[in-house]
């Protein structure tokens, strides 16, 4: 080894230099310190690559243009390890001053630890969409998923007063938003609704469709199909629509509004979807990060009054058409929602 170094000093130097650059040499254990600039650089890290994130990205880009911020979205493919890798990559970028993370699994210590490392390195870290450990982020922007779940439960109870057995579809059962939505759905719906099974697909859309087909044959007695993640909605609607008799007795409740689900909802293949405001999450995420990076206390106080750490972006319940049975706040028909989407230049929400 020593003789190699002696024979090829220039190559050895180049290799060392490359290694130092890759590992962020000189930045200490906590990674590189951010370099303050007039146009702060921030990164959004997603939990999956669902269509839903396109609307967050639009809000993020609009805010970045308006507030003079350099914002970028890095999409995780749906695994804990993938998200940790992205967070570690961000740690080695000295010019990144703020990070917004949709935490893929609430109990994944690796993700929480990577977020803490980012904070130690002087970067501002917030959680968006799906919250993480309280000490791993400075604030959370998104839907109160517990409230969203309860509203979905109430909508199910309104559309189906006698209740029924529920089959749940989700990418990962361990994601904070999945836990919150699923648990509070049953709390909101009441005792007449019981869970048959939760099918997970790991973010694989082909598997999501297979799970729906399996549920259709396995549980002919099911009364409700509940799609927790946005892409579960089109997977459910596509299949259930093939069975007129089953469709007539099953209530389909979903979350968010995937691009493909817009027409499916309009066609009545989905009974209701509880829709977050991803555009707002993206916009407010940039605004808060910039305010925190530049220590703009006035904006921080406006966004987080009284030292709060959560910004609630609210939910809307979207129905195929007006339905007097559904008595919750913020109800819209799909036609009204389409007009809103067009006004924001969006195809999904």
């Amino acid at each position: 080894m020593i003789s190699l170094v002696r024979r090829f000093p220039a190559a050895t130097f180049a290799v060392c230099l490359g290694f130092a650059a890759m590992t962020g040499c000189g930045g200490g254990a906590g990674g590189s310190k951010p370099q303050a600039s007039s146009k702060p650089r921030i990164i959004f890290v997603t939990n999956s690559n669902a269509d839903w994130w396109t609307a967050v990205e639009k809000g993020m880009k609009d805010a970045a243009a308006e507030l003079n911020v350099d914002a970028e979205m890095r999409r995780n493919e749906g695994s804990v390890q993938g998200q940790i890798r992205i967070l570690k990559d961000v740690l080695s970028l000295p010019d990144v001053e703020g990070v917004a993370v949709s935490v893929i699994e609430a109990k994944a210590e690796g993700v929480a630890s990577a977020m803490r490392e980012l904070r130690k390195a002087g970067k501002i870290v917030i959680a968006i969409d799906s919250d993480g450990a309280a000490d791993s982020r400075e604030a959370y922007i998104g839907t109160d998923n517990r409230a969203a779940g309860r509203i979905a439960g109430k909508v199910a109870a309104a559309l189906r007063p006698k209740g029924g057995p529920v089959v749940v579809f989700v990418g990962s059962k361990e994601a904070a938003n999945a836990i919150d939505r699923r648990e509070s759905f049953f709390a909101g719906a009441g005792d007449a609704f019981t869970e048959l099974e939760t099918f997970t697909d790991g973010g694989d859309k082909n598997r999501a469709a297979v799970n729906v087909r399996t549920a259709i044959t396995k549980y002919p007695e099911m009364g409700v199909m509940l799609g927790i993640w946005s892409y579960n909605a089109p997977a459910i609607a596509q299949e259930i629509n093939k069975f007129a008799e089953l469709r007539a007795k099953v209530t389909v409740i979903t979350f968010d509004l995937d691009e493909r689900a817009v027409d499916q909802l309009a066609n009545g293949w989905i009974d209701a979807t509880v829709c977050q405001n991803p555009y707002d999450i993206g916009f407010k995420g940039v605004k808060l990060l910039k305010a925190k990076i530049q220590k703009d206390q006035k904006t921080i106080n406006e966004m987080l009054p009284g030292g709060a750490t959560t910004i609630e972006t609210g939910v809307r319940v979207i129905l195929p058409k007006a339905d007097s049975r559904v008595k919750v706040d913020n109800v819209m028909t799909i036609e009204e929602m389409k007009k809103w989407l067009t006004s924001k230049g969006l195809k999904s929400s």
Binding site: N49, D51, W53, G78, T200, K205, R213, T214
Partner: protein
């Protein structure tokens, strides 16, 4: 009479020595267990069987290409990434790139889909050619060459798709991957063609010879680089076809499609009797291995375990894979 009896006895012995016999018995045993269980009605419903056939066809296209490479003594770890890349290439061809050729006019559906298929499949074949180049000219081991493209092509897919799913609006294209009749027909034609190529042609025999002993194949005058190019080219082509079908099935081109699908493809080939050291296996066996794997997955999903069936699936599948491969090896040794 005794001659007839002994020839009949030999026939039975030969039948039981056939590698596929074990797989047939495995498939029959799993089907029997399901038939005797509470999952019978749901598993054997026409809808369920149709779904299983659909999944066999979707994953089968990938497994066939993987099997040829394994028989030829190689390995292709890039299958899942080629699936993703071809799905986004096809989606962008239809949405952005090809319509530009019609200068603003709406292109005819069949021409658009036809051109998309030709370009996407050609891209898949060229990826296989690139693998062969890395292996033949740069002398990279197949594992390393395809491991590099496993990462690299996924990245290219995400760059092309701008990391967003791209919706596919062509009904004809969607039909290819979503309509079981079309998907199964495509898979069946490919399986028959490749089975004939591998079992009844000189090319097939050369690929087996290459996988059995590369040095001997070279010394025998076989054109080893060209054979590798054909094997990896076919694998790339079949993975691209898989990408087209999966894109049709999900209605999207997606840079995150097909993560881990190379393992499903290799699993089906290995369960079907392909040896990872090359020179052994068949297209027939691979199809049967695939059928066994998909029956196990579907069957596991239909049982009521008291927990999420997706959590039990890996354990059941892993056990069946170990049993199937152990049986194959034992059967091969005894014959």
């Amino acid at each position: 009479m005794s001659d007839r009896s002994s020839s009949s006895h030999a026939w039975w012995k030969a039948l039981f020595r056939l590698q596929e016999t074990g797989l047939f018995l495995g498939v029959a045993a799993v089907l029997g267990v399901i038939y005797l269980s509470s999952a019978r009605d749901s598993f054997y419903s026409p809808y369920s069987l149709q779904d299983m056939l659909h999944q066999i066809a979707l994953f089968g296209v990938l497994s066939l290409g993987a099997a040829i490479v394994i028989i030829a003594g190689g390995i292709d770890l890039s299958v899942g990434s080629v699936v993703a890349l071809s799905s986004v290439v096809a989606a962008r061809l239809m949405r952005d790139w090809l319509p530009a050729l019609w200068l603003g006019a709406a292109p005819p559906q069949t021409a658009l889909v036809g051109l998309t298929l030709v370009v996407t499949l050609s891209a898949g074949f060229l990826i296989g050619v690139f693998h062969a180049f890395l292996i033949n000219q740069i002398r990279l081991p197949p594992f390393i060459a395809t491991l590099a493209t496993l990462a690299g092509l996924r990245s290219v897919a995400r760059l092309i798709s701008l990391s967003q799913p791209i919706g596919i609006t062509s009904d004809l294209f969607i039909k290819l991957g979503n309509d079981t009749t079309f998907t199964v027909a495509i898979f069946s034609v490919l399986a028959i063609i490749l089975s004939v190529v591998m079992g009844m042609t000189v090319l097939g025999r050369h690929l087996y010879a290459l996988g059995g002993n590369e040095a001997a194949a070279r010394l025998s005058g076989l054109r080893v680089p060209r054979l590798k190019l054909i094997a990896y080219g076919l694998s790339g082509l079949s993975a691209a076809l898989g990408g087209i079908l999966f894109a049709g099935s999900t209605g999207q081109g997606d840079g995150n499609l097909g993560i881990g699908y190379e393992l499903w493809a290799i699993t089906a080939a290995v369960v079907g009797g392909c040896s990872l050291s090359g020179g052994a296996g068949s297209i027939r066996g691979t199809v049967l291995g695939l059928v066994l794997v998909q029956i196990v997955i579907k069957g596991t999903g239909q049982f009521k375990w008291g927990v999420s069936s997706t959590e039990v699936e890996g354990l059941v599948l892993g056990t069946v894979v170990v049993l199937a491969v152990a049986f194959n090896q034992r059967n091969n040794k005894s014959s």
